[in-house]
Symmetry: C2
Subunit: 540 residues, 2 copies
């Protein structure tokens, strides 16, 4: 009982509504909330109990400087400066954080004069040339002793150049990484950087962000991550994080949280030793008899059957917790490890699948519909000059079959009118209250074209050779295939808005994971079940 | 009982004698055994059960190549190659490992032609100059828009240069670091490199080693290390490691191991998540009523008093386990963490001290005595031309007081004869059987000068501003001071040979740790108790 009360307190304290408003998704690069809300809740506590002094900004700036430029007799005080910096930074306003990041990006940059000097010296080295004017690679060629001496100078100069090309903030990041709690601060710095860069694209900010991202990738070695099954016995401080960061299906109550960790379900988190007490990413699993077609089949209140009858593990939610780790794919390693673990513990489980949102579908479809509408408009005005219409990537195409056009126009009457099925569909899908999803008539008229176009969106729409939909891209690069498209699987307001209520099952077949991932990576091949392929072929 | 039998089996399997032969010490940069013995015991097992194919070398070389140069359609098979490489490498002979490291160093080096090309481009950038000919640091100066574009080119080129300056083996190391078990392989590679470099000093090998060391330092963040108290309840596979790697006071029996983990003692290990099941470094602690003067006071069989009467925690052994992590100071963080932990659990403990060997003392003293003997020789031959004698750093000095000279000459009679006390002392200390330590007469004659000269060795002898003795340097940089010199503290053969049986107590006073470390770091100040300082002043 007392534990329940404790967790209840946690649930009451956390910003539940904030979590539901965020559009975090099951994606490889999940969009994140600005650091001011959830991830910096600790700093709010700090501000309440310990108001920062008036010149907090100047103080944090000085601590930062002292952590970067260290007189040789002060090496031992670095830790103290890093601690004060960390405390101070997280208590700064968003505006001051931005200013500080600019100071870091511009004031602690690469020393260009030094680089130019070394670069000049490097060119002055007398490179031995072969007949093609290239530098021979092998020490053995030519005069051994002379070559050894030459190579030694090369190595020395290259090392010096490497050091000179490291921006001064590189040292700062390394010191933070070695300092307990520093990795978390690095993630916060990057999250803030990404927020600032939404409005400002100064070259020095971009360089700072890209440098920090590279470092974070090598420091967050998957080999150092620890997989832990999160249960009701875990500390409230950890469970609180699950509530706050759950991005796909918000946790609405204490009972809801408990259910997600109880019989018939599993929750696994990936932890890094330098960020204790919260997972970097976590996955929620439901144990089922078959791959679920709707979210209701997953979010039941009481287990519909004994756990040992389950034959399918359904991943119904993956959430990242650190906005600052955007673009660093940890989910891939997590899924592989979870599959291994579940298979070991429950040999009856033969199928590993997801029930996933399709966050980009409606947005993509609306832009498709809009460009067809433009075509139609121009055609009406001037039928002789239709070649220069729209942007270069669009072309006239029949998005709807003739019978679909008719059925949509007819069903839409009274609610929306338009000159064509395309226009009616556009108006229905872009209306803010999604009236169509409340009319059985419209639902049955829209179902065939929306499913067909969804198959096309998932199977054929790409960006730089990868699936356009971020969740699809995430699972495909991990080696899954697209198994099934499910109509009215998520009839929530959000589900209707982003994917017309459609959800998709991706399936992980263990023996094909590597092969699928490789063929997606190399030639952009998107694996899909024969059902889906058939569904897509109808369109053409 | 069954557990005891299990550990006994472990003890019988491990190469106990190998451990006693190694000269590992309580030092920051401990000298390590070649990887062929303890640290690669796993590979021996591998060889026995799974003999490598005939062309194992070619296979491992190919796996290495395939892990470095990856065609874009094969990214997913990297893990398989890294696994085969790891298995294959550890089963290669020492000779083949050397050959492979040479291939890595020379064949997967920096692409110099690419670097030269970029360096040329960098110089062609039109740098805006200020009146001194320097590049202004601030984007705000001058024409904002032009400067932004210029900076963007700078950042792009600097990033490209940074990438080009990364040797190809840099990618290999990064991939190994991300791969489970890879960090251990990186440590083995470096250990082998250090072994090879004892005989060969090719520039490319040096560059490879220095690059790998830098990477290991940033990847082994102390923030990711985990402190664990090792007890009799730990797995035999872990306890086995303690037996194998104990470097200061070899563990001789099952009973001995158990005693080190039982009442009155503690053992703490520092673990990294990517190298599970064995500590990177571990420390053994005895709980005492006073700082021990001899090793016998520490290595008792039965606890001499109840644990809660202890007021002193004595660090009597620190051992590193990974030869490949030489030069990466983890001991410093370990000691700080252990002090915090012991203080929290046992508030009665007020004193934190060591009983440490002085590994370099006799060796240093013999070289001092030898150069004084040379002086004496030359002086006898030609008293007018004594200025050019010996190497430039030596000068004539009275190492022994007159009364000491006399006493040593007299006591040495029958065993050793010489023209002076210096010569007798030299002969006594350099004789392989250390006869002097078996004669009470000689022991009492040698005690005063050996203690005095030891104080001088510890307090005044330096190399590049740091204490010459590696163990002294280790504790001084961690913030300890030299407390007391103990005569006949370690009368074992090894103890007599390396430090004439003398041991030293370093003391960690919590409130002075930072200050001591800083003053040692900045001006090379060696903190010492007033007793020691007095002892040293007698000499002058």
């Amino acid at each position: 009982m007392s534990r329940n009360r404790k967790v209840l307190a946690v649930l009451m304290r956390t910003p539940m509504t904030a979590a539901t408003n965020r559009n975090q998704q099951l994606v490889s690069d999940p969009p994140f909330p600005p650091t001011t809300d959830a991830s910096s809740s600790a700093l709010h506590n700090f501000q309440e109990t310990n108001p920062p002094p008036r010149d907090a900004f100047a103080d944090v700036k000085e601590r930062m400087r002292a952590s970067i430029i260290i007189p040789t007799d002060k090496i031992e005080s670095v830790d103290a400066n890093l601690e004060e910096f960390s405390k101070g930074y997280t208590s700064l306003s968003q505006e001051h954080r931005r200013d500080l990041l600019l100071v870091l990006a511009k004031g602690y940059d690469v020393n260009r004069n030094r680089v130019r000097e070394l670069v000049q010296q490097y060119l002055n080295l007398e490179f031995p040339h072969d007949s093609d004017g290239n530098v021979p690679d092998d020490e053995q060629s030519g005069d051994g002793v002379r070559d050894e001496a030459f190579l030694a100078s090369c190595y020395r100069m290259e090392r010096n150049l490497r050091i000179a090309l490291k921006p001064m903030y590189g040292d700062f990041f390394e010191r933070l990484n070695a300092y307990p709690g520093g990795l978390k601060i690095l993630a916060v710095l990057r999250a803030d950087l990404l927020t600032v860069m939404e409005n400002e694209t100064m070259p020095s900010l971009r360089a700072l962000e890209s440098y920090l991202k590279e470092k974070l990738i090598t420091w967050l070695s998957p080999a150092a991550l620890h997989l832990h099954q999160i249960t009701w016995d875990d500390p409230a401080s950890l469970l609180e994080k699950i509530v706050v960061y759950e991005a796909v299906h918000p946790i609405r109550s204490l009972q809801d949280l408990r259910r997600r960790l109880s019989i018939g379900r599993r929750c696994f988190g990936y932890f890094h030793p330098a960020i204790p007490g919260e997972p970097l990413i976590f996955i929620e699993v439901a144990l089922l008899k078959a791959v679920a077609k709707t979210i209701q089949e997953v979010l039941w209140d009481d287990p519909p059957f004994p756990e040992n009858e389950a034959t399918c593990a359904l991943f119904y939610s993956i959430s990242s917790t650190q906005a600052g780790l955007t673009g660093i794919n940890l989910g891939k390693f997590l899924i592989k490890r979870v599959i291994e673990l579940v298979r070991r513990d429950m040999p009856n489980i033969m199928v590993f699948a997801t029930l996933s949102p399709i966050p980009g579908y409606v947005q993509w479809l609306l832009s498709k519909l809009a460009s067809q509408l433009k075509f139609a408009e121009v055609e009406t005005e001037d039928t002789t000059n239709s070649s220069g219409v729209g942007n270069s990537s669009t072309f006239k195409e029949n998005l709807l079959l003739i019978e679909e056009e008719e059925k949509i126009c007819e069903s839409g009457k009274g609610l929306t009118d338009g000159k064509s099925g395309i226009e009616v569909l556009y108006k229905l899908l872009s209306s803010t209250n999604s009236e169509w999803s409340k009319s059985d008539h419209l639902i049955s008229a829209l179902k065939p074209p929306l499913i067909r176009l969804c198959a096309r969106y998932l199977l054929k729409e790409k960006k730089r050779g990868k699936a356009l939909d971020p969740v699809a891209n995430f699972h495909l690069q991990n080696g899954a295939i697209i198994e099934r498209i499910n109509w009215m699987a998520d009839p929530s307001e959000k589900g209707i808005r982003q994917s017309a209520g459609i959800m998709v099952n991706y399936v992980y077949r263990l023996e094909q994971i590597e092969e699928n991932a490789q063929s997606y990576f190399s030639i952009g091949h998107i694996g899909a079940s024969s059902d889906i392929q058939r569904c897509f072929e109808v369109i053409r």
